[in-house]
């Protein structure tokens, strides 16, 4: 987990901040933003290995953010967070290049496992 860099993008601040703290306690370098547009500002100074991206956000939707990230930063692997009933959107996201999707509420171990798998994929591609 050392040197893993993760960007969390979700408008649920309490959720994102808590997840970031938990990942941080496990040695994962984590940054947070609370809306889609903000993600691109953050990417100018912080390029993560993995972006954990909520699908349902006000303003720029998760799928729009995903499309743009894959175009501008193709090396960043994206894990989508879906609510309920949005599994079709999760599948759409995978067609658009997302690494995988997870449903809320998360299991932290599952999230870390997926981040690890995404980083392995990224490493083997380079």
């Amino acid at each position: 987990m050392k040197d893993w860099k993760v960007l969390l993008v979700d408008d649920e601040k309490e959720f994102v901040v808590t997840i970031a703290e938990r990942l941080g306690m496990r040695g994962i370098i984590t940054e947070t933003v609370f809306e889609g547009e903000g993600a691109f500002k953050k990417l100018e100074t912080f390029e993560p290995d993995v972006m954990v991206l909520d699908l349902m956000m006000p303003g720029m939707s998760g799928l729009t953010v995903l499309e743009k990230v894959k175009k501008l930063y193709p090396k960043i692997e994206v894990i989508l967070l879906t609510g309920i009933g949005s599994t079709p959107e999760g599948l759409t996201g995978m067609r658009l290049g997302a690494f995988d999707y997870l449903m809320k509420p998360l299991q932290i171990d599952e999230l870390i496992q997926k981040i690890g798998m995404a980083i392995n994929k990224r490493s083997s591609a380079t």
Binding site: E12, E14, F15, T18, I19, E21, R22, M25, M56, G83, I84, G85, K104, P105, L106, I108
Partner: protein, 214 residues
């Protein structure tokens, strides 16, 4: 139908909100657990108890998430006027959504998994409403400690059907007689007839059958 669509839409949106609340509760409890582990404080007198409470929170979050997911899919039921669906999945959904009805009456609702799919092409809201109405009618009649085993099946004529098999703890009189003599039974039959659904009793099986006539 506009009204049910509206109800479904709002309910669906709210289930997303509840899921976010559950996610925050889970992560906050998880963080508290992480902090406890990281502190390695052997002097904390209630460490094991604390961990047990955190586990309990996690299990309840999981339970809540399952209920909310089911409620979300239920909220989308009115999106379809007619839908071809497996009655087994209808039973799975309604089993979770009738938990309160089951506990209030002290009656256990069970599903006998049918490995074969029984497809029904119908208004999905009506099929659920029918099942719930029949459970609502039967549960107080069976009494505490009884069981209602639900199974998807087909009638002798090959019509998709649901069988509700009743196992009672103590019964002095025939359960089926009690059903048939109940003042509401006749009106239930009439109510369902208008929906092209027939309900009938099967004395030899101690069961009530719901037949989804075309």
């Amino acid at each position: 139908m506009k009204e049910t669509l509206f109800m479904g839409k709002v309910t669906s949106a709210m289930t997303h909100e509840v899921k976010n609340v559950l996610a925050i509760i889970r992560e906050s409890a998880g963080l508290a657990q992480d902090l406890l582990v990281a502190a390695e404080d052997k002097t904390f007198p209630n460490k094991e108890r604390f961990s047990r409470i955190m586990d309990k929170i996690d299990k309840q979050v999981q339970r809540g998430a399952e209920i909310v997911s089911t409620l979300n899919s239920f909220a989308h039921v009115p999106d379809y006027e007619v839908r071809n669906e497996d009655l087994n999945s209808v039973l799975d959904q309604m089993l979770l959504l009738s938990g309160k009805l089951s506990r209030t009456n002290g009656v256990k609702f069970l599903i006998e998994e049918n490995t074969k799919s029984v497809f029904l092409e119908a208004d999905p809201l009506k099929s659920r409403m029918t099942l719930y109405r029949v459970l609502e009618f039967l549960a107080p009649l069976t009494g505490k400690g009884s069981e209602i085993l639900m199974k998807s099946t087909k009638s002798e004529k090959g019509i998709p059907a649901l069988g509700l098999f009743i196992t009672m703890v103590a019964s002095g009189e025939s359960f089926i007689e009690r059903v048939q003599s109940h003042p509401e039974w006749g009106s239930l039959i009439e109510e369902f007839r208008s929906l092209n659904i027939s309900i009938e009793t099967k004395s030899e099986l101690n069961a009530v059958m719901i037949n989804f006539v075309k």
